[in-house]
Subunit: 498 residues, 2 copies
Amino acid sequence: MELDKALEELELLQKKMYAYNVASSAIYLDAVTVAPKDTAEGRGIALGILAGESQKVFTAPEVGELLEFLGQHREELCPIVSRQAEVLTREYKKMSLIPAEEYMEYAMLTNEADDVWHKAKEKSDFAMFAPLLEKIFAFNRKFASYYDSTKAPYDALLNEYERGISMEYLDAFFAAVKEKLVPLIHKISEAEQIENDFIYRHYPIEAQRKFSDYLMEVLGMDRSHSTIGETEHPFTLNFNNKDVRITTNYQEHNLVDSMYSVIHEGGHGLYELGISNDLQYTCLAGGVSMGVHESQSRFYENLIGRSRPFIEAIFPKMQEFFPEQLKDVTAEQMYLAVNRVEPSLIRTEADQVTYCLHVMIRYEIEKAVIGGELEVKDIPQEWNRLYKEYLGVDVPDDRHGCLQDSHWSGGMIGYFPSYALGSAYGVQMLRNMEADVDIWEAVSKGDLSVVTGWLKEKVHRYGGLLEPSEVIRNACGRFDPEIYTDYLVQKYSEIYNI
Amino acid sequence: MELDKALEELELLQKKMYAYNVASSAIYLDAVTVAPKDTAEGRGIALGILAGESQKVFTAPEVGELLEFLGQHREELCPIVSRQAEVLTREYKKMSLIPAEEYMEYAMLTNEADDVWHKAKEKSDFAMFAPLLEKIFAFNRKFASYYDSTKAPYDALLNEYERGISMEYLDAFFAAVKEKLVPLIHKISEAEQIENDFIYRHYPIEAQRKFSDYLMEVLGMDRSHSTIGETEHPFTLNFNNKDVRITTNYQEHNLVDSMYSVIHEGGHGLYELGISNDLQYTCLAGGVSMGVHESQSRFYENLIGRSRPFIEAIFPKMQEFFPEQLKDVTAEQMYLAVNRVEPSLIRTEADQVTYCLHVMIRYEIEKAVIGGELEVKDIPQEWNRLYKEYLGVDVPDDRHGCLQDSHWSGGMIGYFPSYALGSAYGVQMLRNMEADVDIWEAVSKGDLSVVTGWLKEKVHRYGGLLEPSEVIRNACGRFDPEIYTDYLVQKYSEIYNI
């Protein structure tokens, strides 16, 4: 084989994988936005076939030969192509180890599980979902050995979502979190609670849509390359760095729910929009890991969006969108309200302080089930016990408990910890950013370009060119959970006067 | 090869083609509804690759062997599978002749052309679009020889959209049309014109949306399997017989524009929804041809939707949706208004009588360009000349002239005539339907189930199981343009008292 020809083939292979991703993303996007209700069957057939076709393209023997050839010529490759070959080789080896039937069986299982989970959640009936979840955990235990048989199964799974992390890493992280945050939450619960009634006034959805458009503008989301839509669960979907979609969900009696989902998904979107052009249509396009992605979304959502300068900057505009609802409210009251801490049942609605404990509970349960110390059928009991222990809340039913998230039905075991890590990474980035530039001066004018510029430089543009751990090292320095917990203690001690 | 195995392979092959269709349809649907503006590049790459992949799957040598094997065992096949093998064999032979690179290049070209056409139309600048249109015509001339090198190029293209028709067939049809309709239009222009000012009052879009929902209900479109969306140009997209999307476009000062596009696209949708379950996910799912499809959409739009019983049935409801706007209007006035004949510039807004001449102009231009008698750059001039000659109107600019339709930018050369044929087929179906059942009694009560039942029985359920000419023969009898022109002369002589 000639190197030129090999490089051409490599480019085409990656474009093909990109095209199959675009296809399934477009079908998914349609399904969750406009598709009529009873259309799952035909869509399922199409998605199953396309997944099989895509896998067949990627696991073809010629691809193995191509990657081997490139591996032998690593010295001659430019850094980008060298990294592509490395990432694809890793993925190829993994995919080759998963038997095709198991892969398709798992795709069908998660498709069915998603359906059953929706119904089980509606009925608040975990027993209905349990048999499928058992199978999903069993598959993941098996997959873990394909991913990396030298690791403990849960470590192998964690590594899939955030390369380089392990139970050891997370145990230390969550221990630090628990040590600092549980007492903080305790102190807050004894302090005078913040008033936030005005958040639940009537906010017409049409006005909220316009407010979202304004937030997109403040975020600097280029509307010729991004849209905002509406779905039951907000998400970000990236076709490429010139085409990113975020979604939100409006509630007529909640001003901030959609507001922070727009800022959160906007953070994901900015990451994708900021990835370098020369990585597009390759395996290096797209954010490098879930943890780094969450570090960006939660950066905008919490570190910027829940900061005093940001609220002060946008509050006059908020009053323009909602003149009646906010006429008796000050910017300071709004700042306090969006930072109200209150242990609650639903992760996605949790405040900045308790959020991490929601994740920790999921981490402990996954670890125990994969480790064989907890049976799937006993998850609800354990879930409710941990919520009581860490957050002091009583879980009334599975719908508000262990059936609340879609991750397990989608087969994502080992994903949750990245949410918490992202929060911690973000704070370390903020500290480094503050040392480099005066961001708060710009933010207080509603200008996020300095923030996004720094993140683009340190994080976004690299896409998958660097390992997650390298991105974190560049942007954060050494990982130190204390920086994160100190930030929270400092911020919320001031807010709650404790 | 075993027959059982061959049948399994045939089923999988067709499901794959279905899946690739779903993929490109979903990407297209996204592009014309919610995609941000500057995203054509990434989408073009994906569509090009998927078209190539799909073609590769279909033109693989194994497919040729499979189809040959099935051809040898035709006697043992059930009628449905036998027809599948026949249709696929025909398509296989054709596709095998189109070089893969040309096919991909063409997919990318039409994607780009669509983008440029939009911009050119906005600027009313044909010269901007001309270089791409030249390439599209050149590709089509080349494709024509792949389709059927024994035919004249334009005949080969016509045959793609409506098997069995030819320039000879159409020349005769349009000659009959011209002979009867040009004098009719002339007489109408001398008669007293119908008053229709009330159609252009202010009709808020929100109320029009609700009116569309009502029309969907009257049409009997099952909303759990169909949706109505909004796009610049209305269309129907079918994923399968359980998932059909129609779109419309609302104008604040026009009541009937969207109304008739909903009924028209609804007719396409009903055809797709009425196709037999046992043809799904095969090459026989979907309407059999463009002409038959248009016979259905124009049946609902004109023969039902512009009939007196239908207007009388829905008018009270129209007054409910638009009480202020229609309080001084009667059902009879509405009936007359929606049947007003007036030579105009835009095909999609044309009345039932002049419509055919709009199509004829396009037919003559396509025929001349493909035949080498007209250069692409001279299209505007020729377009404007023919509009003056046949319809007596002056075309002020390309936007209202030869840039008005999306077909050419989408690569559809030879498609237009099917619109006119569909109108003629529809009238013949109506005559046969009237002989079988008393449809007007039901229609006058707003009940279209008898109409749809007849069409489902005679047309819809067959999908691609029969040739277009067989469907036409079954539903229409022998093709006779006089039945069509007689219908128009009779209907409009009564309306205009001539």
